[in-house]
Symmetry: C2
Subunit: 447 residues, 2 copies
């Protein structure tokens, strides 16, 4: 195994560098450059054997090129619009190797001094852009589901601080729209309150929560001696990209003494655009916010976060200590579900440095402009029409031809290597979804 | 922002490649090669300003070199022995960039076809090495804490399947040793059972759980109408690296109808060594196992996992579905706390390919041999002596000189750039801890 690490005498330093260059070439030529490649190829058998003796990296790279890459899903294809997957900003790709090499650990200050400082500062800066006070705080999480689950945990323990130590015995209810992400259901299971106590409120056809239905549901729960503890607003729903009326929900949460969480994992990115930030109002009233730069900011995953009003909120929700670390005022391992954690904050910092504020705004504005263009293309299409008027850069479509189902249309477009659209269940039927996230999306009239 | 992604005409392809090479050079020369550098330098002010317009990557790399890297903790230093941090295998560093570039998502099969297959196969192979049946299954998690929390969730829902939907109202008790990881406490908070219901059993001076104390505690809980649902064995405790008597605990778990979890996040690596695998017996009796290749297998973090007897265990614990994905039999997002997840399985696969089975065994054996050498050095030392006889490659020390505290000794060694040891709380006092994980650890007689 000697040659797998840098030798103290540096004898293999150039070999390790050459391996790095070879990975760079593979990434540039066989991954990033596949904008006009296939979505994915026929599944070949996988290289599952673990060898007795190690293989040379050149040999391994051959296997990656021949057996792994063809079986990935190619998000770099300009017609890939299936889900909220972005082509990663190039600098964040290289950053992931740097993060791995430094290998610091967000568990504690002593294991990641600069990144702990950076995460605290950068997330406070971001929180303020969402309208939170200068005392606001946050933590990166390995994906948005963890951020949402953490928000539920904080809300539960805020409702009754004794639950941390004594466990829960009350019937506590949370309210989200039917269009909200499945992680809220998962959260109610995880934190021990039960999925049945997640009340899913119907939406209008666009996917926005119906306020009167929410109010009726809260009333019903209270009449049955249930306790509402949490209300969620979604900004950028998974299927239609809809945005709930955040201010109205904030008021209802306040009136009912509920924690107010805004899940703008997807839609949060619009705050960087002068032109589009009006879509996301009233986030300043949130107790917690989920936001994922791994989606619409183009940071290679994972890069997601939970923002809160102040650090004490996280401290109170976890009440954790690290007996095997030197005391420090700020050990992130005490403030999140995760202990060991990569320093993904470096990726976010790099993305912000490389794009600059105007670059981010440009990125959002272009994406919205492409969406308008895409909609015009659909308006001219003989095959498809718009099924749900888009709010952001997510467009839901359906087949125009009664003899062709949405599924058939999806399969045809995919098979012809034209568009890769997803086929979610929406209000009782399958529709086609296009997420216009690619920096250079295909906008030709073939649909 | 145009130049931040590969242009469709490929005009910036070489620029992106050059940026990649520059990151490789920075990583090799300024990170990996710092084996004889400083542990960390004086903290300089951080580059927190987010610029209006994007900065060129060369300029950004300068900032990283001058302001970020000096403020990291340098795990590549041959005297760094503070925590369970490994120098990452070189190939796993480059792999992290490849993972970022491919940017597939373990959420669902359609977003990561090859990696879903790879994770299912590779983790079943690993589970079998721990003695589980060929039906065994597993999932990677972003760190060991998440794996442990997931194990608790599965155990709770296995005890009473109605909790998923109706929430918990029972007094359920889990049993771990006092030396077990803090994530178990976190888990009891997260899953809503309450930290008070985590019973911490005393250990012997090495850190191994006292079986008779456990049996007495279970009896006491039952007498008070509490319900034991979970027993944990630790193999490789955080502070002394001790291994609980796994077989005895398995039997007690069985006798009391409890879920049996083995946390060998650290110690699990010994299964790859013919010479040392005897230390880890009876893991075949586990209901779930936490194992972290990011620790003693040298995979760049994060790479951790939860192994279970079969897939149905995970399905039953979550009972989740993905309405916005095409149906597939295996969508990992339904089987873990995380939704979106990086394809870290590629790193593990690469590590196994590059090392081979004999390379891994060699890595473990060398580490144990270095530990013996380190202990001999301490035996000759005038400053320190061994405080806890090591089981694995973790050695706890204390100052020999009554006029020098352990903390003073730690600070001196660190300040002189000799050894970076940690100073955990162990059985009521601060001791020094050395984790001999570095592939080329410093073993000179200066201690």
């Amino acid at each position: 195994m000697e040659d797998q690490f840098l030798l103290p005498n540096g004898a293999n330093r150039d070999a390790i560098r050459q391996m790095g260059y070879a990975f760079v070439d593979l990434i540039v030529d066989q991954v990033l450059a596949k904008q006009a490649g296939e979505f994915s190829q026929k599944f070949t058998s996988l290289p599952l054997t673990i060898p007795q003796t190690g293989r040379h990296w050149q040999d391994i790279l051959q296997t990656i090129e021949n057996k792994i890459l063809p079986n990935t899903i190619n998000l770099h294809h300009r017609g890939y619009m299936g889900h909220m997957d972005s082509v990663p900003l190039a600098i964040t790709v290289w950053a992931d190797a740097l993060i791995a090499a430094i290998n610091n650990n967000m568990l504690s200050y002593e294991l990641s001094p600069v990144f702990t400082e950076l995460e605290a500062s950068l997330l406070s800066w971001l929180g303020q852009r969402f309208g939170l006070s200068p005392n606001c705080f946050g933590t990166l999480t390995a994906g948005g589901s963890l951020a949402n689950i953490t928000a539920f945990l904080l809300a539960r323990n805020h409702h009754d601080q004794t639950i941390i130590h004594r466990g829960n015995t009350q019937l506590l209810y949370a309210f989200v729209s039917e269009a909200a992400h499945i992680s809220f259901e998962k959260a109610m299971n995880v934190i021990g309150l039960g999925k049945d106590q997640l009340i899913k409120i119907p939406t209008n056809p666009k996917g926005e929560i119906l306020i009167d239905r929410l109010q009726a549901a809260i009333k019903r729960v209270k009449q049955n001696k249930g306790i509402p503890f949490m209300i969620v607003a979604v900004a950028g729903t998974t299927i239609t990209g809809a945005i709930d009326p955040i201010g109205d929900l904030a008021q209802i949460a306040q009136d009912n003494n509920c924690w107010f969480h805004v899940d703008c994992a997807y839609g949060g990115a619009v705050i960087f655009s002068e032109r589009w930030k009006h879509l996301l109002k009233d986030t300043d009233r949130a107790d917690s916010i989920t936001f994922n730069p791994q989606k619409w900011l183009g940071v290679a995953r994972t890069c997601a976060m939970l923002l809160v009003k102040d650090r004490q909120v996280l401290e109170a929700g976890f009440d954790q200590h690290l007996p095997y670390m030197s005391f420090h005022d700020l050990n992130f391992g005490n403030l999140t579900l995760q202990g060991t954690r990569r320093t993904d904050i470096l990726k976010l910092w790099l993305a912000l440095q490389a794009l600059g504020l105007s670059g981010i705004a440009d990125y959002i504005d272009r994406s919205m402009a492409f969406t308008a263009e895409f909609c015009q293309m659909i308006d001219r299409s003989v095959y498809a029409r718009i099924a749900v008027e888009p709010t952001l850069n997510i467009v839901c479509l359906e087949s125009k031809d009664p003899k062709i189902t949405n599924k058939q249309l999806q399969e045809k477009l995919q098979k012809n290597n034209q568009y890769w659209l997803s086929l979610p269940q929406w209000q009782g039927r399958e529709i086609l979804k296009a997420v216009i996230l690619h920096p250079y999306p295909k906008l030709t009239d073939i649909l």
